[in-house]
Amino acid sequence: MDTLPDPAYAELYCLSNLSFQQATANVEDLLDRAKALGYAALAITEECSLYSAPRAHVHAQTIAFPLLIGCTLQLEEGLRLVLLVEDRAGYAALAQLISLARSRAEKGGYRIFLADLLPLSGLLAILLPEYRNAPAADHLVTELRAAWGGARLWLGLSLRYRGDQQRQLTALRHWQQHFQLPAVACTGVRMARRSERFLLDVLTAIRLRKPVSAVGWDLPSNGEQHLRTRQQLAQLYPAELLAESVHIAQRCRFSLQELRYHYPQGSCPASQSPQEYLQQEAEKGLLRRYPHGAPEAVRQQLQEELRIVAELGYANYFLTVYEIVSFARERDILCQGRGSAANSVLCYVLGITEVDPARAHLLFSRFLSRERGEPPDIDIDFEHERREEVIQYVFRRYGRRHAALTASIIHYRPRSAMRDAARALAFSASEQDQLCQQLAWWDGRRVLPERLQEAGFDPQHSAVQRLIIVVNALVGMPRHLSQHVGGMVLSETPLDALVPIEPARMSERTVLQWDKNDLDLLGILKVDLLALGMLTVLRRALADLHMRLADLPAEDPQVYAMLQRGESLGVFQVESRAQMGMLPRLKPHCFYDLVIEVAIIRPGPIQGGMVHPYLRRRAGQEAVSYPGPEVQKVLERTLGVPIFQEQVMQIAMEAAGFDGDAADGLRRAMAAWRRKGNLGPYQQRLLEGLAARGYAEDFAQQLCEQIRGFAEYGFPESHAASFALLVYASAWIKCHHPAVFTAALLNSQPMGFYAPAQIVEEAKRQGVQVLPVDIRRSHWETRARGRRVRLGLHQVKGLLRSDIERCLAWREADGNLDPETLLQDAGVGRQSLEKLARAGAFDALLGHRREALWQILALCKNTALALPVASKQPSTLPPPSAQSLCRDDYQQLGLSLGPHPLSFLRPQLEREGYRSIVQSLRRPSGTKVRVAGLVTHRQRPSTAHGTVFLTIVDESGSANLIVWPQRVEEWRRPVLHGKLLGVLGRLEKNGPYVHNIIVEEIQDYSTRLSDLRAVSQDFQ
């Protein structure tokens, strides 16, 4: 029997997984599937959003398939409808409508009314009313029909085998006749394939916060909401309803390509073009930076950069960044730019960055390039405590409709997928905890049955098997929309006509509906306004020294000598244990060495096995060689070893013949590696390209490994250069003004690797005299004078700042500082006084802290009723012992200026054979040593394959311990939670400054500390 040809059809009602927990398939799968099924077009109509529009647009273009942009809305009055964009004006209207609806609700929700729709043009609507009701009763459709006319409205029918097809069709005819509207078929797609039904059920359960078994009627009754074959549709729908879908699709010819984005003009005077103004400001800046005349190479570089900026039309972008940075400088907010475009002469002379190109000898190969088509990339770091001021300035300066933060789409990772899936499959709360806890130790994106077995679950049990399937299906799916850490988009025209804007969870912030990566696809520029703790430290320190960042003398040999000794506690980026160990080996002696130092201890170079070859070559222990001339060109400045992220891309271009587009694609594939787990088509292309140019397969494979490493985390050279400047600046202050540096670090806590106790110990080692908190002399902040530091009252835990401000004002007014006066007259709270007493702030006034506390405990605020008064006689309490003082110090301040806690235990430890750390580290390499100390750091870096690194301190110094992975489980408890450890181990020395102890035995002596508490920071 001949079969009829499949009818033409376009699906006009389809949600992707970017409607979060409402659909399963991503837009790429949906478009591919629609094309494979021979659909005429596909409309992506997310629920009140355009989250997926850019991705869908790019993929539709790639596969040359017609895409319609639209969205699904549920009116507050009850009607559900699909809006489709017909033209450019319709797109702007839709984006603004979504922004309006989102602005009326909390994050994640929306509220929209029929009245909002009535004036809109450029849009087509498919109405999805309840056909069970009589048409005459529906005033919503009546009103919309009256406002829009009959040419832009359709009645949509979604048939999904509910047993009432005939009744629905009959009802539809009545509605058509009543309203004189055409009808169209649409599915309401939520899956690409029927097999995804289980996932849709789980997502529904997650959205409704119930187990799947309790969702009931809210679950779809079958799996028909997928992209069905046209033959299947022909069996369900009358032919004219299917044909109408194609007519609608033909009317919607809008493409996102039509969007025109204009960068705002910034503060450019009307009499000048942006390019002229930029040139003028650059020339001024050149004079400012080089008062004695700029080197010719720098001048030429600037002209070249200005030419490229003019050619690509990015003058406004640079002017905007210039304006933001200028605002920060006016407000004394320390900031610094970084990124590929930031490390240029242009940015240096505009004051966006402080990296002097003449000093850094950087190759500006990643500055704007027409071939690569990348938008300019400038990240600006601000002091972490004042970044919000800058963000709010940008909102004020450009207006809420012209500025917004970019979104960041958060995807399911194994742990979040496990939590949500276990909840949806009705696992108990404690089982969920247990399942998720196991995942903390996992690498990779797939959940394996063996891991669940380790957690005490039977992987053969059907419930557990279902869980594994669901978790693995969820991993990688979009979970929710978040705001990017600091990416801001600015626009000359209203932004909400380009991309819908919605409120963020944080007050006073608004977020675009597009992910930061999607902005690039449409050439929308963003500026990253990021927060950096070290800038706060530097601002405080420089203010104390009455200096600016630019005033710091360059290339100071004393600074490099200090770093070469590994004395970098508190120094930006090089204070970690790994960096401290690397400094004496790398021996930095110039700025570019710091650039390398910053970039080399990263997962990229470590996983790519590049650290040791670089060190050997630098030390002259290994010859510098290159696998080919193209590679030599790229890697010459790093001795033949790729250290920076862009070097890998450059190799792909130079040695594997990638063109600009392919290199850009490779860059994106690298960025997506963590999400997708591979490089996609670029891996094969890379291998083939290298082979064609005669490179050995080993080299090609090694390069792929290195790319993978960089995908985990790697540093571009330009970022490393900007950071190196902060390394140098912080090291210079530490080297020459350790007291100022210590005060600034303590005042900027919490930040960095080290707790106040270690910062103070380091200061003492540098010869700084640290003075205790004193109610007569301390301020809120820690202050430095000469080589002395007076601890600030902020260091006392749990103090109310308002109480201390009252107290300080009282002191300024020469008020009496005894506790009773402070309570009764200055209005300081009794709890604050008690904390001050226990921290020793009244010691100088009242003798000892027990006496002070005794007096304070008897105080109570004066009332109208006479209350019994405590005697004024001093107590008979004895002064506290040194141990007691030490314990109170740690409890109240987190540090002690008195004897180290270990000094009280030393006699007993000596008897047990433990020697001090400094004494032990003096012994030759390879000898067995026995040391004990308080644990200050625990690290288990992902690049170390399970090895745990511990740092312990005693009264003499600190030691680095290495616990090999095979012993970690055996000593799990002391390694994870031990506060005081005794260790027998083998001393391993590498030069005069790098000492490690390879642990052979561990004893947990934490109970000996009794109540002494050392502050430990755990880093997994």
């Binding site: 085998y161 047993g163 059920d201 009754s221 499959l425 905890d433």
Partner: protein
């Protein structure tokens, strides 16, 4: 003669109750701040400590079980222990300063004086291997408890034998006192470590600083202030038993003695009542035991007899009973019921009707059918006890459903393929292992019956699942 109190403390009862059979590697319980509140010996061995954050504890020993407190089980165990202690002293009290602590007054107990080990042994046997206990002996219940906390598991602690209580109570560490963390920190910062350190300070100055309640506590601890506490309720058994005047083998014969037994029990119950009753009939060689449940506490003799009649006529004992015993179980306080004089209490009558049916047919035989939100027809209803409240879980739209749904689908031969437009496709159930994928339609059988039939989409076979008419 000075009083003598024995304190019995279960330091980890809440956690240990979950692992009485020792099958779990360890158990710990978190408080509302997500910190470890209590753990058993297994968890302690793994390094779990009180006050540790829950996340830390999980990271340290992920194999351990985290449990919630079961207040009822804890109370029941303490109650059993209290009943045991009542065999040794006239007064047993709960020391509410700690979660699981009891004390028994032993003054004048000659058994205790003669063989103290017998009581200690009985308590240790009660605790068994899985429950840790601390035992303390002192002239006051508080001092006994603090001695117990100072001692070791399972051993009796009563301070040094060669010193008087007046001397040794001063050595009790202040950190054992049930004060909050702030107060403990204050004492420690002031260098006050023991009750003796406390005593050396001026009483008025102490009270000003730490509050008068601690003065009172210390006074009660020393025995210089009365420490009145409500005694732990002594469990009473509400049983009436008597021999029957003549052998009884049917309901008519039993009715009168049963009424008498009920009325005697009512007198003893006073302000208490019961919903569970146990009847024991003893014959020459046979015994008959029967339980009766009622929805509300039974206070009316007529209703009581009516229910027993329903039960015993349906389940006769079948021998000549010579002895009767009636026990009221799970008694609870009962203050009677308020009712309007003119209103007919329909609900009460319904309840009594249900009780009668249950008495006749058994508890499990009476149920109500309630709809459930599930697309699969056989899971779209379930049976519930009649008292369960109704939930609105009816199918939200008007899809056709048969009047009679078969308990199980029956394979059937269908002679024609259904029209696509007639099909209702139902899929779901993968989450409980009963996944279905079916196309339902109406089918008029040759005998005229309007059937609800489905085609299983996996096997392509047809099944009859219900009848419309």
């Amino acid at each position: 003669m000075a009083e003598q109190w024995l304190a019995v403390i279960f330091p980890a009862l809440a956690a240990e109750l979950w692992n009485l059979d020792g099958t779990l590697p360890g158990v710990w319980i978190a408080d509302t701040r997500q910190r470890v509140w209590q753990m058993d010996a297994g968890a302690a061995k793994q390094g779990i400590q009180i006050g540790m954050s829950a996340a830390q504890a999980r990271a340290l020993a992920p194999q351990l079980q985290v449990m919630q407190r079961d207040a009822e089980r804890e109370f029941n165990l303490l109650d059993r222990c209290a009943q045991l202690l009542y065999a040794w002293g006239p007064q047993v009290v709960a020391l509410q300063e700690w979660p699981h602590a009891l004390a028994v007054e032993l003054q004048g107990n000659s058994r205790w004086r003669a063989r103290p080990q017998a009581l200690l042994q009985a308590i240790r046997e009660f605790a068994g291997e899985r429950l840790r206990i601390r035992l303390g002996l002192a002239p006051t219940s508080l001092a006994a408890a603090l001695f117990a906390w100072q001692g070791k598991d399972g051993e009796l602690c009563h301070g040094p034998a060669d010193r008087s209580f007046t001397e040794c109570w001063q050595e009790i560490p202040l950190k054992l006192l049930p004060a909050n963390d702030t107060l403990h920190a204050r004492w420690e910062s002031l260098g006050l470590y023991s009750c003796g350190d406390w005593l050396r300070l001026d009483r008025r100055e102490r009270a000003l600083r730490f509050g008068p309640e601690w003065e009172r506590f210390l006074d009660r601890l020393r025995g210089i202030r009365a420490d009145p506490r409500s005694p732990w309720p002594l469990q009473e058994e509400f049983v009436v038993a008597f021999p029957l005047l003549q052998e009884v083998s049917d309901w008519q014969g039993l009715r009168f003695p049963l009424r008498r037994a009920f009325q005697e029990l009512r007198l003893r119950l006073r302000h208490r009542a019961s919903t569970r009753w146990e009847l024991l009939l003893q014959g020459r060689d046979a015994q008959y035991r029967q339980l009766l449940h009622s929805r509300d506490p039974l206070t009316s003799a007529e209703l009581f007899l009516q229910l027993w009649q329903e039960r015993l006529q349906r389940h006769p004992w079948g021998f000549a009973a010579r002895h009767l015993q009636l026990r009221a179980m799970d008694t609870e306080n009962w203050a009677g019921e308020q009712g309007a004089f003119w209103e007919q209490n329909l609900l009460r009558e319904q309840g009594q009707l249900l009780d009668r049916w249950r008495a006749r047919l058994g508890v499990d035989s009476i149920y109500r059918v309630q709809p459930r939100a599930d697309h699969r027809p056989e899971y779209a209803w379930h049976s519930v006890v009649p008292e369960e409240s109704e939930t609105n879980t009816a199918l939200p739209d008007l899809r056709p459903r048969p009047l009679w749904l078969l308990p199980e689908p029956i394979p059937v031969s269908v002679l024609h393929e259904p029209e696509t437009s007639e099909l209702e496709r139902i899929e779901g159930g993968w989450w409980d292992g009963h996944d279905v994928s079916r196309d339902y339609f109406r089918w008029r059988r040759s005998d005229g019956a309007e059937c609800w039939v489905f085609r299983d989409r996996r096997s392509a076979r047809y099944f009859l699942h219900g009848y419309f008419a």
